[in-house]
């Protein structure tokens, strides 16, 4: 039983990363109809930025946790204004290709400067060690990640559902034309929302730095799994994306624990789940049907 709870906890922690990335993707997709391939690259930049700040300027984890998301969010807003904006009226595939190109560029820039080997990032002193959770001990840092992510998701949910800004964003997501017709300047919110989504990716990166190997390629493989996650949850649904993120984390952790003789199972579980969802509910578990094709 303890083992099961431990695996479940582990699953929720890795699911937290999927959830943060999927949340950013879903918010951006809702507002801009852009599937941001570079999301993984920004996650990587978050982790790498934290590492560089610590090793070259001595900036501690807590400062990086604030600085990196803000800096990357601003970079994202600049990119949105400079290039992505030009393609949003075209087929979304063009922005997918554009952000794919940006991914290759960002990845290679970091690779050329720092090489491909992984760099260690020390867990902040306040969060090292482990916590006694009654049933079992758990690394403090992981408890922190899970708590922090859940709080963040709740906060985003609160902003979207209880504030005026959230009202505008939700309306613009569902019916952009109609929202404009009501005299609301939808365009004003596009750039900040993009920056916010990118900031979330950067935040996930900083959180990942002490836990995962920091290297230039850490984002790309992850983002493809996150694509499968949002197909499962339904990209149009913010709640669905987050829920699917945690769900896939759990499935992978259980697969790893109970089918450890077959490592391939936990690696491919997400894709199998995606296949089942496509057969059963093609629009995703929480998504709405597209126009029939």
């Amino acid at each position: 039983m303890t083992g099961f709870l431990q695996n479940t906890f582990n699953g929720l922690v890795s699911g937290a990363f999927y959830a943060l990335l999927a949340l950013g993707l879903a918010v951006i997709f809702g507002m801009l109809r852009v599937v941001n391939f570079a999301h993984g690259a920004f996650y990587m930049l978050g982790a790498f930025g934290a590492y560089v700040l610590l090793s070259e300027a001595g900036v501690p984890f807590w400062a990086a946790l604030v600085v990196m998301p803000v800096a990357l969010g601003l970079l994202g807003m600049a990119l949105e204004r400079a290039v992505i904006h030009r393609l949003t009226r075209l087929d979304p595939l063009y922005n997918f290709l554009l952000t794919f190109g940006l991914t290759l560029i960002l990845q290679d820039l970091v690779k050329n400067r720092y090489g491909v080997q992984s760099s260690p990032y020390a867990t902040p002193a306040e969060l090292s060690g482990s916590l006694d959770l009654g049933l079992f001990d758990f690394p403090t840092y992981r408890v922190f990640i899970l708590g922090f992510t859940v709080l963040l998701c709740v906060a985003v949910w609160w902003v979207l559902s209880r504030t005026r800004v959230g009202l505008v964003v939700r309306a613009a997501t569902e019916r952009p034309e109609l929202t404009r017709a009501f005299g609301i300047d939808v365009g004003r919110w596009v750039t900040p929302v993009f920056g916010f989504g990118i900031g979330l990716a950067g935040l996930a990166g900083v959180l990942a730095a002490p836990m995962r190997a920091v290297n230039p390629l850490m984002g790309a493989d992850l983002i493809i799994v996150v694509f499968a996650v949002v197909v499962i949850g339904g990209l149009g649904s913010i709640f669905g994306s987050v829920a699917a993120g945690f769900g896939i984390g759990l499935v992978q952790a259980w697969g790893e624990a109970y089918l450890s003789d077959f490592p391939i199972v936990s690696q491919t579980a997400v894709f199998v789940v995606m296949a089942v969802v496509l057969l059963w509910r093609p629009a995703g578990l929480f998504g709405r049907e597209e126009a029939p094709a």
Partner: protein
Amino acid sequence: MTSAVDTPADAARPTPPSALAAVARAPGRIRYALLAVAVVAALWLPNGLYPAVAVDILCWALFAVSVDLLLGFTGLMSFGHAAFWGTSAYVTGLVAIHAGLPFPVAVLVGALASAALAVPIGHLAVKRTGIYFAMVTLAFAQMVYYVANEWRSVTRGENGLQGVPRSLFGLDLTDDYYFYYAILPIVAFGLAAAWRIVHSPFGRVLVGIRDNPARARALGYPVHRYKLTAFVLSGFLAGLGGGLFALGHRFVSLDVLHWTTSGKAVIVVVLGGIGTLWGGVLGAGIVVRLEDWLSFSGFEAIGLVTGGIFVLVVLLFRRGIWGSAALVLRRLAARRR
């Protein structure tokens, strides 16, 4: 690329309904002249370039045409075609190493394996359209990558398959120069097949589905089945290219299944011109030649260049080379009238 016709996305769509149609309407002389140029260029290629690079160009030309069959003529952007390119590369390599069959048979087996893999993936992927189709195909290709990575006893993991032989009834094809001419008929067959598919009644239905899926369905066409058939045919062509690629390099590594390979195939098509079929061949020539030149000159960050091409082409040159040329041709023809 399958939304209804009157949305802004489609109004701004860079590809004319068929850029090829412009050439088709041009006097027959132009078409025969172009065909003659293409034949001469194909026969001359290994004399002007390193033969190994020429072989790569042929393989990538098939790959690009297979992607364009879906992207340009069915309105489906597969971002996971490395799955078919790579699967055939591995199967071809294994058959060539272990069975000692003539290499065209090995390539055929590889391409058939890819087509077989395209059946389940296509069946699932055609349930979604547009950007979702791209994400789903990308995800399944990544699954194939993970499987190949884990299945070390067969794929040899990081080491890859080494020493893939090019046997053909005792002929000595170790020299890339002769190997180029040995595979040229296979590539020509693949390209002709693609041309035949696009210009068949089946191909016209695909274009109809691309332009207006709802109407195609209303006319009684089983849209999913048409898309799936196109997907499997495309998988076969990609497999043909991938198998030849394995023989060309005499080596198969996990790179053939990597997501960057899928992405490169798409950008080769966009650079050449979506929906132009032969544009992809030009795009393949340019990208392969450029990458060879970059790696030869010791430039490390190829991703910077490939990524830069992506960004620039998507921002500034969405019609692609062939699409732009067709547009110029059509304007000239219109002026003459």
